[in-house]
């Protein structure tokens, strides 16, 4: 098994790359869509459009979305982006839809009085969001967002289906080669567990740092 260490390390690197890039894309999209979908900040036409896109992305399984973006979309647009780009965009957008729902709910649970207080003090709408409501929303949704990005980590395993060589794909290949499923599955599970533990520790550290303010 030791001869496959380098392969597993490369696969772990790819999983890490996918996880970080999909999570960052998801967070940006989630913040954008979740903000514009919240009750207080809706914009005619744009918010209903974002509602529709979110419904679509949350309603179709990620695996089916990968099939659509990797096989169907290139036929429609006439060129095929790389598997890596397709995978990152598909998982990032799919997770972004879930993140936008969490963020929208986060905004909607903020006491209306906070908006009124900021408005009474003369804050412009963007200042209300930037300085008062946004930070409270992030604090409320933080645990759910951490959960979402743990799901993204585990969902990167699906990207092997479009040929991305991430750690589960490496594990599957090694298993087929060695016929030793037990050590391979244990190694793959341990890698995911370590990465998930790192995010959990990081999230706990952030939560502890801000705990004094509530």
């Amino acid at each position: 098994m030791t001869q496959y260490t380098t392969l597993f390390l490369k696969g772990t690197g790819m999983t890490l790359l996918l996880w970080v890039s999909c999570s960052l894309l998801s967070l940006m999209l989630g913040l954008f869509a979740g903000t514009l979908r919240s009750t207080q900040l809706r914009i005619p036409l744009i918010s209903p459009l974002l509602d529709g896109i979110t419904l679509l992305l949350r309603g179709i399984p990620l695996y089916s979305q990968l099939m659509i973006t990797y096989f169907a979309v290139p036929q429609l647009i006439g060129f095929a982006p790389s598997a890596l780009l397709t995978g990152i965009l598909t998982l990032g957008f799919c997770s972004g839809a879930y993140a936008s729902e969490l963020i929208r709910n986060g905004y909607n649970t903020i006491d209306k009085g906070q908006w009124l207080a900021a408005q009474a003090l003369g804050y412009a709408r963007w200042q209300q969001v930037r300085y008062i409501i946004g930070p409270q929303m992030l604090q409320k949704t933080f645990p759910a967002l951490v959960n979402e990005y743990l799901m993204v980590l585990k969902s990167t395993a699906l990207l092997g289906a479009i040929g991305i060589i991430e750690v589960t794909k490496i594990g599957t290949n090694v298993m087929y080669k060695t016929f030793q499923p037990i050590p391979v599955c244990l190694a793959v599970a341990a890698i995911y567990l370590i990465l998930a533990a790192l995010l959990t520790l990081f999230a706990n550290w952030i939560e502890r740092s801000y705990a004094c303010s509530q």
Partner: protein
């Protein structure tokens, strides 16, 4: 001077305020009383432009409030809410400094000095680094007062200020409001607390079903 002319506010088919006309004299304390649902809080929300879908005109020294920018309006009329609505992620001091920097165009240093001065005025300097969750109702109210007064509004509204205060804190508030009046600020208060109203008001307005029913001069 704040003058309200034919102020009408409707929610759906229900008329919350009906043709309210009144002029609040400068440097006085006016209390608005009336049963629950009579439109007291709605009147304050209209005066402070938190509700803008009203009919009629609200003027401060000939300036129509609805035509002011958010910043100009905040520097004209301020409000302390019934449950204060301090910003929970900011300390007491930051609650006061942030509007000064964002709206009052103070530098960070100037805002800190001004906030320290305001906190001293309300005897809250020892709680500057406390969060709202660590403060009592009376303490939160004093921070909310300091925050609202930081922008130097000419008119200050208080919505049911004694509803969450014990007798001691209510008495303290009465003293603070009397001191505020000395500075020339026009104070408008909604209250159910007859004893408090009797202690603090120069004028009492009675609202009933959205209409101004009576006006009485106390002092």
């Amino acid at each position: 001077m704040l003058s309200v002319t034919n102020l009408t506010f409707k929610r759906g088919s229900q008329t919350i305020l009906d043709q309210v006309t009144y002029t609040f004299a400068p440097g006085t304390i006016t209390c608005i009383v009336g049963p629950s649902g009579s439109g007291k809080s709605t009147l304050l929300a209209c005066l402070t432009q938190l509700y803008t879908a009203y009919e009629g005109t609200i003027r401060s020294n000939d300036l129509v409030l609805s035509s002011l920018t958010a910043k100009e309006r905040a520097q004209t009329i301020g409000i302390v809410f019934q449950t204060w609505h301090l910003f929970p992620l900011l300390t007491a001091q930051e609650n006061v400094t942030q509007p000064l920097m964002l709206i009052g165009d103070f530098s960070k240093e100037q805002a800190r000095e001004k906030a320290a001065e305001l906190l001293r005025t309300f005897d809250m300097q020892d709680y500057a680094h406390s969060y709202s969750s660590q403060l009592s109702g009376g303490q939160q109210q004093r921070i909310a007062l300091a925050r609202a007064l930081g922008l130097k509004p000419k008119i200050l509204c208080l919505d049911e200020p004694t509803s969450a205060l014990d007798a001691g804190n209510s008495q303290l508030l009465i003293e603070e409001l009397k001191q505020l009046k000395q500075t020339g600020i026009t104070v408008i208060i909604t209250s159910h607390d007859r004893e408090f109203v009797a202690s603090v008001a120069d004028t009492v307005l009675e609202l009933e079903e959205g209409k101004l029913k009576s006006t009485s001069l106390k002092n």
